[in-house]
Symmetry: C2
Subunit: 363 residues, 2 copies
């Protein structure tokens, strides 16, 4: 690896001149000098060391991304979008860490970022409290948090980007209601986070608006296993099997997210029930995998790409401290994608054929 010294020597100039061309200050020199330096750089295949530069400037083009688990397709899809924007628009690379819902792992990740001199991080945390996140911000990091809202009252250093969970669940529930369902359920996992609460509220709001509040229920399939691959899908599967075995059961279910919905469908099937013949299901997320399911899953599409873009832009260009009010950005769902996991309820529960129809997105 050649250094700036080698280039300077080769070009017969000083290191500062080379540094100037590296940093675009080419107006300070004769075109001829510039040419010599560029030739030397080319000849030596010189690449400036980001390390040395960082030691001097304190800046490094690296973005941290903390996710609960890369095995969850929703998170890896978000990661993919974040990487694309960070790279193409800002020339940043991504350092990814999985926390597996472990506070110690989250804290360790922030520590490592600091030690590496990284100043920007996007956090997708499954944890209830945002303490570590705020601590990182207090230590000088620019942090953007996904799918959480600032705790009311406590002024927060961190910017929050999230889907409108209330509206997403409301949309999903309303679709079931529009199809004639009256026995509604919201399927979730044990434990409340802000985003889960918002979804439940949206579910309840839709049910109550339709006069169905009394029968609408929230069911959970138990806690998330920290390290499993399929995690939430397994919980869904368990729950589906349990519902299939129960005497009373809802005719329409809104799932916490698509992975849960996929698990639910499998569990219901395990229990001998048909979707949507016996039970209708709506997911939330819009994973591409949901289109592959049998029956294809009706789901509320979240604007992942737009949220990813917003997160990267915010982490790269943080708001001035004055604009502390506009720290939260909420994205409306992109719409309901009607596929084939929802049908009108029926005592007989007729099975539907699964013709292929193009997906329809309702704005």
């Amino acid at each position: 690896m050649s250094t700036i010294q080698d280039v300077a020597r080769q070009a017969g100039v000083s290191v500062s001149t080379v540094s100037n061309v590296l940093n675009g200050r080419t107006d300070r020199m004769r075109p001829e000098t510039l040419a010599r330096v560029e030739a030397a750089i080319g000849a030596l295949g010189f690449r400036p060391s980001k390390i040395a530069r960082q030691l001097k400037t304190g800046q490094t083009p690296l973005l941290g991304l903390l996710v609960p688990s890369l095995a969850n397709p929703m998170y890896s899809f978000i990661a993919r979008e974040i990487e694309t924007v960070a790279q193409e628009r800002f020339g940043y690379r991504l350092l990814i860490g999985s926390a597996y819902r472990d506070p110690a792992k989250e804290a360790a990740f922030f520590d490592d970022l600091m030690a590496h001199g990284m100043r920007r991080v996007i956090v997708i945390s499954a944890l209830a409290d945002e303490q570590h996140v705020e601590a990182a911000a207090a230590r000088g990091m620019v942090v953007v948090s996904y799918d959480r809202r600032a705790t009311p009252g406590q002024p927060s250093q961190v910017c929050h980007v999230m889907p409108d969970n209330f509206e997403a669940a409301r949309l999903a529930t309303q679709h079931l209601i529009d199809c004639g369902h009256t026995r509604l359920a919201f399927a979730t996992v044990a434990g409340l986070t802000l985003s889960r609460s918002a979804k439940i509220a949206g579910f309840r709001a839709a049910a109550e608006a339709a006069g169905l509040g009394a029968s609408a229920q929230v069911v959970d399939g138990g806690p998330l296993d920290e390290y499993g691959d399929s995690v939430i899908a397994e919980v869904g599967r368990t729950l589906g099997a349990r519902m299939a075995a129960a005497t009373e059961r809802p005719s329409g279910i809104v799932a916490l997210n698509d992975l849960m919905a996929l698990g639910l469908m499998a569990g219901l099937r395990d229990g001998g029930l048909r979707v949507p013949g016996d039970v209708s299901i709506v997911g939330i997320d819009g994973l591409f995998l949901s289109a592959l399911a049998n029956p294809p899953l009706t789901t509320v599409q979240l604007p992942v790409r737009e949220m990813a873009r917003a997160m990267v832009e915010r982490v790269m260009n943080p708001l001035p401290d004055a604009d502390i009010d506009e720290r939260d950005i909420v994205f409306a769902p992109a719409g309901l994608i009607e596929r084939e996991s929802v049908a009108p309820p029926g005592p007989a529960g007729e099975a539907r054929t699964h013709e292929s129809e193009p997906d329809k997105v309702e704005p």
Copy 2:
């Protein structure tokens, strides 16, 4: 951020003493001194800068990982396993880059790693030639490549870790044959890579050994779209629809991988065919999502965790140049997971019920 100087001052010692404790050379000092230094470190919340250390030592605890796309669940699962091993066993963090089958993006990733002083990278490349990879190795990087074999004759600097693709496809095909299938197909995408060729060879070998070589065919669903989310699943879906519309069709299909199989099942369904009633399907990979499919996908499980471990170990402890022969490590498939996407062929093609059975793994 406090520095080693601050600690030295606070503890009333020199920086080298502090450096010594940071690097575990505690035997060179009085316990009392050690205690003072540790107290100072704690009081200041001091974290040594990895940047400064790296500038000095040339080492950084960062591992590069190049994947075709994080949106593919197989790659994100491998990434997850690699991250776990790298972090827990070696204290390394992961810098991930997606190449989207673009040679320029791959090259740019290697350049960035070099500029960041990173010396280790694991490459999962979808590209046909390994030129960039060898170039990176020549520039001094330790590179481990997944699912490729060294080009025979050309001595390679890079270590290769891969599943036994031939055997995986052979196992899958044999299962179809054992179930009575005689009209066999291997479903792939356009373009040959080493691993695809190996799978095709395994498919052919099994068919020929059963005297079914004449009718066994390889079909492809066209080229991969570079940037799509679902990529290979879409190709599978197209292919499935095409096969459903054809007059002659195989009764048993081995898919290139699970995602392709999931797409195929959807495409076949779009075309009005039933799996496994009309067509049986076997995948290769063993994604957890395959267990959620309807019908649950019979597939050959690849030992992802073991391969990930091997890759990390190799990239952390490269072989001495002498052992150039043992650079390739091939992993046998973990076994066939029998689920419900395979049934005996029948002219009438009876639909099966999908009772839930525990998965069986055949060693």
